[in-house]
């Protein structure tokens, strides 16, 4: 055979299309090297290095803009949708790292491995968000999952941490099997794994209604549904979220969800019109089940971390509401909500982390009694995040839910919107229950003071609060960005 002719121009463009990912991976490697030469007491530098790397990557995303740059013979594309999700994922990672400045000191996670695993996982998420080939999506999913399994079990001396990691790992490996089997079936009938080509084949009816393809798409959906913890694929979520170091829980709940939804949106928006009505019905059922089971289970929790875990299941259901119809309006609402959700959820976990102090028993709701008046700033911040999670104006959570449900109504899914609003009302009960504890219950006799946050930690909390408030009042520019991102996909 003739030697491969190297097209330098194409290779350069390909490399440019994954510049943000390259920066994140390079930072992860750099952190590992610096970790080797750094003395034990200076490990805090690693956190700073990681933050700089993520900031550079974020800068690269912004400077590349929303222009469409495809690379590696269609395996990956940098477009509006990719850029939007990269911003969400990198913001979640940056917030997590800022909070790590304090958290790592208390919990002993100032390890080079902690930061490099976090960054490698982030790079996997970004590949997943940009992948236009099912193979890239799968590899991105694995690259994001394996470091997360380890991070969940990072507290090797706590039983709950190990238990959560093991459950997550076993079920996650099983879910990967489903995903791969789905991709294999899709490849068997179509001969391609490229998402745009699949969408084109669905539209010109050579693949539409093909049951084998539907079976493959269903299995693909199962694999991704596991990662975003849709009911009935949510069994691992409460244990893994409760057992993981709280910082990792915050990161997982926001970033992993965003990445898996990115792949789902890319696949569904392009392919769903060719798979209606079968797929729409399945998504409808999944959305209703996820919202209802998540909220009803959250009602009974006395452990705040577990309550937030169930609430994150319910939120996956809300986000899915936007995808049932597979149109621009719904997709835009889902994108906006994912961005808002990342900030409000990480913010809520951040405050809870300061108050709880100890893993496991520290998260009992009784420990939050009386916090509101003794520590007004913390109380106010947590109330803001909880109110936003519950979807009460003037917060961004309200705007997000408003657009999700109004998109459903406009597309004729009135029943779905009604169930969503009812669920939202149920959820207010358990969010406000925590607020009631903070402001109306007397503090216990030996209630310990919350930890004083470091400057970077406070910065992360303030940034989250600012985003939640500003997007609650002036959501227009971000909504338009979300709309352009969805449109860039359909072009």
């Amino acid at each position: 055979m003739a030697p491969i002719a190297i097209d330098a121009q194409a290779l350069l463009q390909s490399t440019y299309s994954i510049l943000p990912e390259i920066l994140v991976v390079a930072t992860a490697l750099f952190v590992l090297f610096v970790d080797l030469i750094l003395p034990e007491e200076n490990k805090r530098v690693l956190c700073g290095v990681s933050i700089i790397g993520v900031a550079l990557s974020l800068f690269a995303v912004f400077s590349m803009g929303p222009a469409r740059i495809s690379g590696f013979s269609g395996a990956v594309v940098h477009d509006g949708l990719g850029a939007f999700f990269e911003i969400v994922i990198l913001s979640a990672c940056a917030l997590t790292l800022l909070m790590a400045t304090g958290y790592s000191e208390w919990e002993g996670t100032h390890k080079g491995e902690f930061y490099s695993l976090l960054l490698l996982s982030t790079s996997g998420m970004m590949f997943m968000a940009k992948g236009t080939d099912l193979m890239t999506v799968f590899l991105g999913l694995e690259t994001l999952s394996i470091p997360i399994y380890v991070l969940v079990g990072f507290h090797r001396n706590r039983m709950s941490s190990i238990e959560g990691a093991l459950k997550y790992f076993l079920l996650g490996a099983f879910a990967s099997g489903f995903l791969l089997y789905g991709i294999a079936l899709i490849y068997a009938v179509s001969g391609t794994t490229k998402i745009p080509q699949l969408a084109a084949m669905l539209l010109d009816a050579s693949l539409a209604g093909n049951p084998m393809f539907l079976a493959g798409a269903g299995l693909l959906l199962v694999g991704l549904a596991f990662k975003v913890s849709l009911v009935p694929f949510h069994m691992w979520t409460p244990d893994a979220y409760e057992g993981a170091p709280t910082l990792v829980t915050a990161f997982m709940s926001a970033a992993v969800k965003a990445a898996a939804f990115a792949a789902l949106i890319r696949f569904l928006l392009l392919a769903l019109p060719g798979m209606q009505p079968a797929m729409g019905k399945i998504l409808w059922i999944l959305a209703v089940l996820t919202m209802t089971v998540g909220n009803l289970s959250a009602l009974r929790q006395d452990n705040v971390k577990r309550m937030l875990a169930y609430s994150s299941i319910a939120h996956a259901g809300y986000i899915l509401v936007g995808m049932v119809s597979g149109d621009v309006l719904g997709g835009q609402a889902s994108l906006f909500y994912l961005l808002v959700y990342a900030f409000m959820n990480i913010g809520a976990f951040g405050v809870v982390m300061l108050i709880a102090q100890k893993e496991d028993e520290g998260y009992d709701i009784g420990n939050f009694a009386g916090i509101g008046f003794r520590y007004p700033v913390l109380g106010a911040l947590l109330t803001l995040f909880l109110v936003s999670l519950g979807g009460i104006p003037p917060t961004a959570g309200f705007i997000g839910k408003f657009y999700l449900f109004s998109a459903a109504v406009k597309n004729g899914y009135i029943g779905l919107a009604v169930i969503g609003v009812l669920n939202s009302a149920v959820s207010i009960y358990y969010y406000l229950r925590l607020v009631v504890y903070m402001y109306m219950m007397p503090a216990g006799a030996e209630a310990p003071a919350p930890r004083p946050p470091r400057v970077a930690f406070s910065l992360a909390l303030c940034a989250s609060a600012a985003v939640v408030l500003v997007l609650g009042i002036l959501p227009r520019s971000v909504l338009e960005f979300a709309e352009r991102s969805v449109l860039s996909l359909l072009m």
Partner: protein, 162 residues
């Protein structure tokens, strides 16, 4: 000839896989796993994927199952202390669900023509290498990041002091 061989090796692969999950002793499971992996390698040969078949035997049947066997021998649980597995309702439902999935896939596969057999040289080392470094370059590179993450993760979890 090819359909007969396909049936033969397919049956061995499925039978071996069933034995893997039903045997009581883990060593027996591991040995049946080798049988399954070998017959899957034979199926790869039937689809002209010679390189993949060789890799399947060397890496999976050779290296990975040998590691399994090492671990089983190192842990060395005596026969009478192996956990007793009962047939619960959930397991029964699981078997039924798996059976339905296989049945459905089989029925669908019969209704739709599979893509024609690939060209004879498409599975050679040269062809695979060429595809790996052109069309699938990104997948190849992400895999290296994935393996690095797995190595760091394994060390983080298993090392006495980090």
């Amino acid at each position: 000839m090819e359909p007969i061989l396909f049936m033969l090796f397919g049956a061995i692969a499925v039978g071996g896989a069933i034995m893997v999950v039903t045997r009581k002793h883990p060593m027996a499971s591991a040995l049946y796993l080798i049988l399954t992996l070998f017959s899957v390698a034979a199926l790869f040969v039937l689809r002209q994927a010679h390189f993949l078949a060789a890799i399947q035997v060397i890496v999976y049947a050779g290296a990975i199952v040998v590691l399994f066997i090492f671990v089983i021998m190192l842990i060395n649980v005596p026969e009478n202390r192996l956990p007793v597995e009962r047939a619960t309702v959930m397991r029964l439902l699981g078997v039924i669900a798996a059976g339905l999935l296989i049945l459905e896939t089989a029925l669908l596969a019969r209704r739709f023509a599979m893509p024609a057999a690939p060209a004879a040289d498409s599975g050679s080392v040269q062809a695979v290498g060429r595809a790996l470094f052109t069309d699938y370059l990104l997948a190849f590179e992400i895999t290296s990041v994935l393996l690095l993450a797995a190595v760091i993760g394994a060390i983080t979890l298993a090392k006495k002091k980090i």
